[in-house]
């Protein structure tokens, strides 16, 4: 079945954002680009299941997310990163200079559970609504909201961002909490 030019253009214009999503998920540019390529090939092979007039970008994000998840299941131990070795490998990875400045942030992002990471990126960076993110992740809207909140809390901890006075315990208290196993 020939690919409609409009659909092809819609796919191409989604690529930059798909790459950003894939890099945020996998923490690796090469792996991300492979994911994007596989996503496009799957999308083209299944183009008849796309309903014209609906959100092409959301459809492609759903495919990419599913591909990443099935890959993640295979590599569970690596990505769960209980000992921080995956985050460590990100630091030593040769990266394009444009990606260097976000190293610390990426390393923190890599320590989040995948559910929380994807929810935060979809809502906080890709610009999807909670409803769209819920559809992409095939879960309830409330689940997305709570994942985003937990992701923000954890990132704030990891990056030790000090904010307004309502942030909570001071440094010393947080150090004690951290020493207690993060509870």
């Amino acid at each position: 079945m020939p690919l409609d030019t409009t659909l092809r253009d819609q796919m191409l214009s989604a690529v930059p954002s798909l790459r950003a999503f894939a890099i945020s998920l996998s923490g690796n540019v090469d792996r991300a680009d492979d994911l994007v390529q596989e996503t496009l090939l799957r999308a083209i092979a299944n183009i008849e299941s796309f309903q014209p007039g609906t959100n092409m970008s959301a459809w492609l994000f759903t495919i990419l997310r599913n591909l990443f998840r099935s890959e993640y299941r295979k590599r569970r131990r690596e990505v769960e990163d209980t000992d921080g070795s995956y985050a460590e490998s990100l630091k030593s990875q040769p990266e394009q200079s444009s990606h260097l400045e976000f190293k610390e942030f990426r390393a923190a992002l890599a320590k989040l559970p995948p559910d929380q990471r994807e929810a935060l990126i979809l809502v906080g960076a890709s610009g999807f609504s909670y409803e769209e993110a819920a559809a992409i992740c095939e879960c309830a809207v409330g689940t997305i909201k709570s994942r985003v909140n937990r992701a923000r809390n954890r990132l704030a901890d990891l990056l030790a961002i000090e904010g307004a006075e309502d942030f909570g315990p001071d440094h010393a208290t947080r150090a004690i909490l951290a020493a207690g196993g993060g509870r």
């Binding site: 690919l3 923000r152 307004a164």
Partner: protein, 65 residues
């Protein structure tokens, strides 16, 4: 696990707006940094080749691999 998370949130309270916006800014600038790279040739080239295959079905078998 769930209890731990609840416990923790009670202890910590909600994140302040400053913290939320700092995280949001970092996340978006990291993301937009990649978006601004545009479409790498690899992808436009791939779609162009697929188009050609469809336009010339007789060559399809040769180009599949």
């Amino acid at each position: 696990m769930q209890t731990d998370v609840n416990q923790r949130n009670k202890t910590k309270g909600r994140l302040g707006r400053d913290v939320q916006s700092k995280i949001g800014q970092q996340l978006r600038s990291m993301y937009d940094n990649v978006v601004s790279e545009g479409v790498p040739d690899r992808f436009s080239e791939m779609l162009r080749q697929l188009d050609q295959q469809q336009a010339q079905p007789d060559q399809k078998d040769k180009e599949v691999n």
